[in-house]
Structure formats: structure tokens, C-alpha cells
Amino acid sequence: MHWQIDLFILTLVIVCALAAINVRDLLGAAVLFGAYSFLMCLLWAIMGAVDVAFTEASVGAGVSTVFFVAAVFQTTRRSKD
């Protein structure tokens, strides 16, 4: 595996993580969080953890995000930080 790709994705992951916790809109945070999960899943797939990557793709990027959006729908998008 090329460590350059690995490093690139890792950087993206960190950027996504920072963005997800800093964006002032919960729906945006949900989407960024989905992106974060998906990049993470990619990373794991690169590392050969296919089952875990599969799970993360369906859970982290999928169902979790849906739950998140549903919760935001029931509450509010507003976030002060």
C-alpha cells in the first residue's frame, strides 16, 4: 500500500473531523460526519479490514447519519459552536 494515499486520506479525515465539530449548523455537521465516516471506512479498507470497512460504511456513513438527521429534524439545526 502506498503510504502517501494513506497519509492523504488521514489528513482528509482529520479535516472532516474538525469541520464536523466546528460547523455551526447541525445538519451540516451530520453531513460532514457522514463524510468523515466514509473516509474512515476507506482508510480501513486500505488497511485490509474489509469487514470493518463494510460495517462502517453501512453504519457510520449510513444509518448513523440517518439517525443524526432524524434527530436534527426533531430538534433544531441551530448550534452556537
Partner: protein, 136 residues
């Protein structure tokens, strides 16, 4: 210098997981919004999962599914080399950990919805003022 570079290549994965984890931890502790804290919580957990997956990685090894297991020309059990496949155990553990984290996330969101129903806000400081008002 050479050594340092080697060290970096050997360990950067571990370092980045630490950074990621600290981002999550910081969000849990310092964020004001209840759901933001949950995002931080998830980042924190995935960082740990990343760490475990890093443990399982082996150079020159492939995914932990035995090739040519069945059918014609299948591999004989004695020929399977441990070094040829990734360590499956951390994968298994992390499958469980992912499940646990999504379950916790679901329950926490449900509780957050309940909190919102009570105070009509998700900001901690605003909730605190509401509680103080209520006591008065």
C-alpha cells in the same frame, strides 16, 4: 535523520489516531451543544477503532479471507501461513465496537430528543438558565 524518518513512517498512523482522538475528546468536553458533543463522542470512538485496525495491519499480507478455500485446487490447511493474512482478531473486536458505538449513539440521540422536548434548546448554557429560572 534517517532514523527519525523511519520512526515517522513506522508510527505516523498511531500519532494521527491520537490527534483524531483528542479532537473527539476535546469536543465532548468543551462543546456547548449536546449533539455536537455526540459527534465528538463518535469521532473519539472511531479513532480508537482506527488504532485497533492499525494493530492488525501486517506488511505483505492480504485481507483475512482465505484464498481458494473450497472447490478444485483448494489450498491445503497446512499451507496457510499466518504472515500471509492480516490479523483478524482486532477486526472482530472492532466490528463489535462499531456496533456498540452506533447503539450508544442511537440511545444518546433519543435522550437528546427528550431533552429538547423538555427545554426547547440543545445548548447547555441555555438549558442551565432554564433550570435556574424554573427553580426560581
Amino acid at each position: 535523520m534517517e532514523q527519525l524518518l523511519q520512526e515517522i513512517v513506522a508510527k505516523y498512523n498511531y500519532w494521527l489516531y491520537i490527534i483524531l482522538m483528542m479532537i473527539g475528546l476535546y469536543a465532548i468536553i468543551s462543546k456547548n451543544n449536546l449533539i455536537k458533543k455526540l459527534v465528538g463522542m463518535n469521532i473519539f470512538q472511531t479513532a480508537i477503532i482506527l488504532f485497533f485496525i492499525s494493530i492488525s495491519y501486517k506488511e505483505q499480507a492480504t485481507i483475512p479471507i482465505i484464498r481458494n478455500a473450497h472447490g478444485p485446487g483448494h489450498v491445503s490447511p497446512e499451507a496457510i501461513q499466518a504472515t500471509a493474512y492480516m490479523n483478524p482478531l482486532p477486526h472482530v473486536l472492532m466490528l463489535t465496537a462499531i456496533v456498540v458505538s452506533v447503539a450508544t449513539f442511537g440511545v444518546a440521540l433519543a435522550i437528546a430528543v427528550k431533552v429538547y422536548g423538555e427545554y426547547e434548546t440543545l445548548e447547555e448554557d441555555e438549558i442551565r438558565t432554564r433550570i435556574r429560572e424554573k427553580i426560581k
